[in-house]
Amino acid sequence: MAIDTGIHSELDVQRDHELHEKEQTGTRTMVLNMGPQHPSTHGVLRLLLELDGETILKAAPDIGYLHTGIEKEFEDKTYQQGVTLTDRIDYLAPLSNNLVYCLAAEKLLQLEIPEHAQWTRVMLTEFTRLNSHLVWLGTHAIDIGAMSVFLYCFREREEILRIFEMFSGQRMMTSYFRIGGLSLPHPRGWNKRVKDFVDIFSSRVDEYEELLTNNRIWTGRTKGIGYISIEDMLDLGVTGPMLRAAGLKVDARKDSPYSSYEKFDFDVPTRTENDVFARYQVRLLEMRESLKIIRQAMEGMPSGSHQADAPGIILPDREKMKTQMESLIYHFKIVTEGFRVPEGEVYQAVESPRGEVGCYMVSDGTQKPYRVHWRGPSFGNLQCTSRLIEGTLIADVIAAIGSMDFVLGDTDR
């Protein structure tokens, strides 16, 4: 039986046509609506699946339920205010988003960021990767039926969120990176907190592997599922762990290093099997690599200022503001109208946990961005959904789309 879905897509038209044809021959297909409130769509993704028995003939994703007009909002905020919007785009990787936005603005301003701030950025961005991968692993395992992994993952995630809170005062919407450096200096005792985490986390990853890697149900549900060719992925705009699970070593941290990533020693893990299991393995290996980066950053953290020396852009010291005329003027100007950014346009790419997040920023020389376009990795990755699940069985849909690791806030913006 066909269900009237109310949207007139190409799929609908074709479906009607095929239905008519099949009525003549006696066979019929069914259109199944999945989402937008389905728990396994991780937010509000809607999928229209056309089924022949249990086989999926056609799949059409329908997005936009979480569109909040963030790109328009950027144009109405000063550059520094815009940082708070970036947290809310991809709410599982707020610091990667802070970073790409700040780097784009700093490129336009041609600001030099002190090493201390750069290394802190690297360290916390890697924590973000751990955080995001842990949420992915927990929810993906629940989707496939392994309940307890979720509880283990969220135990470590909680500690990561506490570390974020320690640095920025916020657990999720941190806005810790600002244009010109960091919003606050390091908190007292951060070293011990991070060290305690780093020391224990490696064994925790072993625990997850123990639960899943050799688990027969897990391998049965993930191995050989969700294959899509490299050519298709490149052509459809897929980035991140999905590409790396197919054997392509693409990572913005290595290809075009930013924020002094070139000074860290780490590998970009790849697999060649190109299925759900390979994506799981790549993400687990990435967690181990992130841990290596965090350890290096913690041990070699350079001393120095947490903000660039840029009067007129960085808010002056409280003490100076009260004693020096010039600082008072800068303070007043920055608070009341922001700072001007030279005319120009830049595109900055950062490797977020999900793939390439890109920020295209156009400045017209005023205090507000003229245009900000956000290239979310989830938006690019979701484009391959049809290609990924067409021809497979309906029972594998959840495993396949879960392996893409998308965040709908990032898709719809």
Partner: protein, 140 residues
């Protein structure tokens, strides 16, 4: 690259920008993909230069994974008739990006396989990312 059809070639802040006439866009994209190994089209978007004319810039970001290189390609289209050839025949990833640009700027892409709104409801009036569209208010 593309010296024969480029209207303008810029190199600022370490980033390359090539501007071509809108009628040459498919030619340019095809040649960049075939001859210069730009396998990936990272994004397609628009910039509204209201009230200047031609009003819209259509901006393509390309990446070459093999050569570790990025490039920005641009074409300007008029405000009265914002229309350009779709890039889908060359890069399939252009599909949703062009739909998004159509949805938010009202730029039409000729020969796009399925050009309809992607973020906003089907019956939405106006194009929110245009500069004459207000940020707040109840009516456009």
């Amino acid at each position: 690259m593309l010296e024969d059809i480029a209207v303008d070639i810029k190199n600022a802040l370490g980033e390359e920008t090539i501007e071509v006439a809108p009628e040459n866009i498919l030619n340019a994209l095809g040649r960049l993909k075939q001859d210069h190994k730009f396998e990936r089209l990272t994004s397609v978007t628009g910039v509204d230069r209201y009230p200047a004319e031609p009003r819209f810039e259509v901006v393509y970001h390309l990446q070459s994974v093999a050569n570790k290189r990025r490039l920005r390609l641009k074409a300007r289209v008029s405000g009265a008739n914002p229309e350009i050839e779709s890039a889908v025949p060359v890069y399939r990833s252009a599909d949703w990006y062009e739909r998004e640009t159509f949805d938010l700027f009202g730029i039409r892409f000729r020969n796009h396989p399925d050009l309809r709104r992607i973020m906003l409801p089907e019956d939405w009036e106006g194009y929110p990312l245009r500069k004459d569209y207000p940020v707040t208010g109840t009516r456009y």
